[in-house]
Symmetry: C2
Subunit: 582 residues, 2 copies
C-alpha cells in the first residue's frame, strides 16, 4: 500500500471524552471515529487490525473443528421469551419493534438463536458433538458506554456454541476451545492469563476468562507465578494464614480507644500489629414476615470483604449492609466500635478462616471509644461459623500449594463457559441418544471480543509516542520512509525497490510517499505503531546504508542497503513465528 | 473438509413459504434457515458461498483503489434528520430508541454516516478523490419480506461511497466502480447486464443497475444484442415506430362498436390491425385552490403506459388516475369509450411519439358503444403535445440505432449511482479547493447485494436436482464420493490420496466420509450444487478407473486413477480463470 492512496487520519490531540490510553491512541491514530456514544466507525487503518485479529481467531476456530455460520443481528422476541431472558436481561438488551409492532432485539449474544438451530437440525447423537461459531456485530446497550472499544455498545465478537451428548464430551469440547484460545492470544503475541472465573483450578472449572495483562485493567487477578493457578480476585480462594490456633496468652480486657474506630488507628494506639485486630462488618438478610437476620462478619484488620464469596454462603444470598438503625437496635451503639461480645440482641457470627485461627485479638466493645483486647475463641465467645470471606492479597499462599500468590490487573478479552443444559432445557433442545431416548444437549459458549482485543493490546503495548503493535495485528508490519521521494531519484528508486521486495515476500508494507516532512512522517508511524521502519535518505545511500528502527528501539541502526529487505523480512517472520509456537 | 466433520443439513422438501426456486433450493441445500420473516441464519455451507462472493468483491474494490472501513449498523437519528431522510424514508427505515429514549435507526444504507466521516476528516482537495467501502449487515424493514435472500430484511451488502472535487473526477470514480462491477460479476461467472437506470446510454448516464439475467427476474430489461445498449424497461427510450405521418386517407366517421370498449375488441370488430387503434388513459393532477387538470394520454392500442417516464413530464409530477366522477364530468361519459374529440370540458392531450405520427386512427367517441374512425391530426383535432410515454417492446429499434431491441428479465444485484452534492449539500460536507474556497464534495454510491448475488446465481443456474454453482462461489469446488469408505481399504486409500492431492493444489474439496448410501450422497451433492464430482469404487479401481461427472453433465466419464486429480484441478482452474479474463 502506498500512503498517498491510503487514508491516514492522525490527530495531535485526543478527544476530551477519551479517558484511557487505548481510546486516546485509537482515535489519534485514526483507527476509530465516534458516531454516537459507544458506537464507532472503524477507519481503514483500524479495520486492518480488526481483520487480522479475526483471521487468527478463524484459523484457530477452524483448526479446533468449529464450523463457521452467521446468525442475524435482529432476533425475534419469541426466542428470548422461551429462554426466559426477555424478562431476566436488563435494559442492556436493546428491545425494538418492527413496522408491524412485533418485538425484536438487537442481539447482544446468540444462545437463543443457536439453540433454536440445534433443536431443529440435530436429531441424533450421531450428529454430536458440533461447535458453531460466528464473527458478528453485537449490540449491548451499556448505560454508560466509555473507554472506546473497551466498553462500547456496538462491537464485533467471535461467539462459539458447542453441543454435546454428555458431560464428558462437553468437557472435551471445552478443552478444545480453551486450547484454541491459548493459541489465539499466543499468536497475537499478548501477555495473557487464563483465569478461572469461579475457583481458579483449571482442571475442574466450568468457566474461564482470558485476560490480557495490563496495569490499566479493570479486573484484579491473583496468580501463582510458579504454577498455572490464576483466578479473578473476586473468586480466588483465600487459605487461612495460620494453620493452627495458638493458646490464649492474654486476659480479655475492655480498653479505652478514644476516637480510634478504625483498625489501623487502634493498632497504632495499642502498639500492636494490624494483624491482631478484627474488622467487624454488619450485614442483614430479609426474612418474610419477621425481623431481618443480622450478621457480624469478622475479618483480620488488614483484610477486605469479598462480596462474591459472601453472597454464596448459606443464608447470605441477597444480603445487604445493615442500616444504622438496625445496628443501634442490635448492638446498642452506632457503627464504629462494634464487636461480637455483649450484643443487645442475638446475631449470627461468621469468622473468616484466618480469623478463626487467631488468638488474643482485638474487637470493638459495642461502646463508643472502647475496644476489647485479648479476646479468644471458646473462652470469651462461642466458636463461630468459619468461611472464606476475604479477598486474597499478594503474598498469600496459592490454593494449589505451589507458592505465594501475586496480583496483577487484566482486561477480559475472552470467556469460555460450560452452560450445561440451561438453554437446551428451557428451549427443549433434545436429541435421541444411543437407546433412542430423548436427552437434552449439553452446551458450552465461548466468546472473544474482537474489537476489545485491539484496545487491550494497546493498553499492554504503548509509549509516549503512541501504539506499539505486535506484528500479528499491526495495520502494517513495515513502513518505508523515503526522505524526498518526490525530489531524489536515488531515494525513490531504492524505496520502490524495497517496497517491491517486501511485497513479494508477503510482508504487509506501506510506503510513505505523501511528501511529508520527516518529523511528520515519523510521528505518524510511531503513533500508528508500525513495528518496523526503514528510512531511505540520500546521505545514507551514498554510503550504501539505510536506517532501520524497530518501534521499541530507542535508536536507529544502520543496515547495508543490499541487506535491508532481508533483515526486515526475517524480523517480521521471526516475530510472527514466535507467536505461533508459543 | 471431511463431510463427517462438517454440517450438512439437506432437506427433501422445501418450506411452504418458499415461492421461488432459489429460496427453495437454499433452504433444501442447508444454506439458510429462517429465524423470522426476512431474517435468516446462514448455515456453514451457505456462509462458504457468501465468503467467496465477499472475497471477489473485496479484491476488485481494492484493485479499484477503494479503501475498506466499517461503519456501525446502529446509527443516530440526528444524522438522518440532517440529511432529511428521517422524514423522507418510509417505514422500511427501522427506527429504534435506546435505553435513554434517544432515537436511532438500524441502517439500511450509510450515506449519512460516511458523509459525516468525510466532512470531519477531509479538509482539502489534496485528500480527494477517496472511495470508502464496507461489507456490512443492513436492515430494511420490508412490509412483505419474501423470496428468501432476494427480498430479505437483514442482508449483507457491499456499499461504497466516493468523494470527488468536481464532476469530471466523479465521472472517473464512477467509471472505476462500473469497471470493477463488470469484473466482479464476470469473475463470479454470471450472465449479467449493466443497465442504465435512466436513459440507457452507458457513457452519459449517472446511474446503472447490474442485473443477473434470469427468467424469474422481477425487472424487465431492454437491450440491443448488437451493441452495449441496455436499460430497464421502466427507463428505456421508445423511439417513434413511424418516422413520418402519412396523409389522411379516410373521412372521420362515428362508428357503432357495441360492447367493444377494449382496443383489441374494436380492432377485431372493424377488421383492422390493433396498431390502428388508440388507447386513451385519463390522468389528473392537483391544482391548489382550483379544479384538478385532466390529461388524456394517447397510446397505440398494442402499447402500454410507462409510469416512470410519464411522471417526469412537465406538469405530470405526482399525477394520479382520474376518478370516475372526474371522467364523467370531463368527458360526459363513463370510462370505456373515451377519446380526445367532443369532450365536455377542455383537457390536455399528450400523444405518445408513435401516436403523433399515425393517421386514420380510431379513438373512443365519448359515447357508450361508439368509436370514431379515420381520425387525423390537424384536420380532426389539434396537434397534441408529443412525448415518449410508453414501454418499449421486443423488436422496437434500439435508441442507439444499432438494431432491434430484445427484452429479458433480470435480478438487480448491483447499483452504481452518481449522487452529486445531494448529501454534501444537506450535511455541509465541503473541502477547500485549490483557491482555498469551500466547495461541496461530489459523491457517488455503489452497492452490491452480497446475499442477493447467491439467490440470483441460483435463479440463473439450477436444474431439477438442485443448484449448479459456478466454481467461483461454490461452497466446495469438488466432492469426492467414495463407495464404501468404511469398508474398502482400497477405496479409502484412493479417496484419501485424491483428497490430499486436491488440497495440496489449493482446491476446495470435500470428502464424503459419512458412510451414506450412494443415492443419498449423490442427491445431497447435486442438491448442494458442487460443480465437480469424483466417485471412487472398488469396481472401477480394479480397472484403474474413477468416475468423473461435472454438475451439468448428464453422464459420468471414466478417468484413469492416476490422471483424476490433475484433470479435476485443471477443470477448476480453467473455470476460475475464464471468469477472471472475461
Amino acid at each position: 500500500m502506498k500512503a498517498s492512496r491510503f487514508f491516514i487520519a492522525t490527530l495531535k490531540e485526543a478527544p476530551t471524552d477519551a479517558e484511557i490510553v487505548s481510546h486516546q491512541l485509537m482515535v489519534r491514530a485514526g483507527m476509530i471515529r465516534r458516531v454516537a456514544g459507544g458506537i464507532y466507525s472503524y477507519l481503514p487503518i483500524g479495520l486492518r487490525s480488526i481483520r487480522k485479529v479475526e483471521t487468527i481467531v478463524r484459523e484457530e476456530m477452524n483448526r479446533a473443528g468449529a464450523l463457521e455460520l452467521l446468525m442475524p443481528a435482529v432476533q425475534p422476541a419469541e426466542l428470548w421469551q422461551e429462554s426466559g431472558r426477555w424478562v431476566q436481561y436488563g435494559p442492556e438488551l436493546l428491545r425494538i419493534k418492527d413496522r408491524h409492532e412485533r418485538d425484536f432485539v438487537v442481539g447482544p449474544t446468540h444462545e437463543e438463536v443457536v439453540t433454536d438451530i440445534a433443536r431443529r437440525e440435530i436429531k441424533s447423537y450421531r450428529q454430536l458433538p458440533v461447535n458453531f461459531y460466528q464473527v458478528q456485530t453485537k449490540f449491548r446497550d451499556e448505560i454508560r458506554p466509555r473507554f472506546g472499544v473497551m466498553r462500547g455498545r456496538e462491537f464485533i465478537m467471535k461467539d462459539a456454541y458447542s453441543f454435546d451428548r454428555d458431560q464428558a464430551s462437553l468437557a472435551e469440547s471445552y478443552k478444545k476451545m480453551f486450547d484454541a484460545y491459548v493459541r489465539v492470544f499466543s499468536r497475537i503475541g499478548l501477555e495473557f492469563r487464563a483465569v478461572a472465573a469461579d475457583n481458579g483450578s483449571i482442571g475442574g472449572s466450568g468457566s474461564h476468562e482470558f485476560h490480557v495483562i495490563a496495569e490499566t485493567g479493570e479486573d484484579a487477578i491473583a496468580y501463582c507465578p510458579a504454577s498455572d493457578y490464576a483466578a479473578n480476585v473476586e473468586a480466588a480462594e483465600a487459605l487461612p494464614l495460620n494453620a493452627t490456633r495458638a493458646a490464649p496468652a492474654e486476659e480479655m480486657k475492655k480498653t479505652a480507644t478514644p476516637g480510634k474506630a478504625k483498625c489501623e488507628a487502634v493498632a497504632e494506639l495499642l502498639n500492636i500489629p494490624l494483624q491482631r485486630t478484627i474488622k467487624s462488618i454488619i450485614l442483614a438478610t430479609e426474612n418474610e414476615g419477621a425481623e431481618p437476620t443480622i450478621w457480624l462478619l469478622m475479618l483480620r484488620g488488614d483484610h477486605s470483604l469479598n462480596d462474591v464469596k459472601t453472597g454464596k454462603l448459606p443464608g447470605l444470598s441477597g444480603y445487604r449492609f445493615a442500616t444504622e438503625a438496625e445496628i443501634v437496635d442490635t448492638f446498642g451503639t452506632p457503627p464504629g466500635y462494634l464487636g461480637p461480645i455483649n450484643t443487645k440482641k442475638p446475631i449470627k457470627v461468621i469468622a473468616d478462616s484466618t480469623v478463626a485461627n487467631m488468638s488474643d485479638f482485638v474487637v470493638g466493645a459495642n461502646e463508643v471509644d472502647y475496644h476489647i483486647t485479648g479476646v479468644n475463641w471458646g473462652r470469651d465467645l462461642p466458636e463461630p461459623i468459619v468461611a472464606d470471606i476475604r479477598n486474597v492479597l499478594a503474598g498469600d499462599p496459592s490454593p494449589d500449594g505451589k507458592g505465594p500468590l501475586e496480583i496483577c490487573r487484566g482486561i477480559e478479552v475472552g470467556h469460555v463457559f460450560q452452560l450445561g443444559t440451561k438453554y437446551s432445557d428451557a428451549m427443549n433442545a433434545t436429541f435421541l441418544d444411543e437407546n433412542g431416548k430423548p436427552a437434552p444437549m449439553l452446551m458450552g459458549c465461548y466468546g472473544i471480543g474482537i474489537t476489545r482485543v485491539l484496545g487491550a493490546a494497546i493498553e499492554q503495548n504503548f509509549d509516549a509516542k503512541g501504539i506499539i503493535w505486535p506484528e500479528s495485528i499491526a495495520p502494517f508490519e513495515v513502513v518505508l520512509c523515503p526522505m524526498g521521494y518526490d525530489r531524489s531519484d536515488a531515494v525513490r528508486e531504492q524505496a520502490d525497490k524495497l517496497y517491491a521486495a517486501l511485497q513479494a515476500a508477503g510482508i504487509d508494507v506501506i510506503l510513505d510517499d505523501r511528501g511529508e516532512r520527516p518529523g511528520v512522517m515519523f510521528a505518524d508511524w510511531e503513533l500508528i505503531g508500525v513495528p518496523h521502519r526503514l528510512v531511505i535518505g540520500d546521505r545514507g545511500l551514498k554510503e550504501g546504508k539505510l536506517e532501520y528502527q524497530a518501534r521499541r528501539d530507542t535508536e536507529a541502526t544502520l543496515l547495508p542497503v543490499e541487506d535491508a529487505a532481508n533483515v526486515v523480512i526475517e524480523k517480521v517472520r521471526a516475530a510472527l513465528a514466535s507467536g505461533v509456537t508459543r
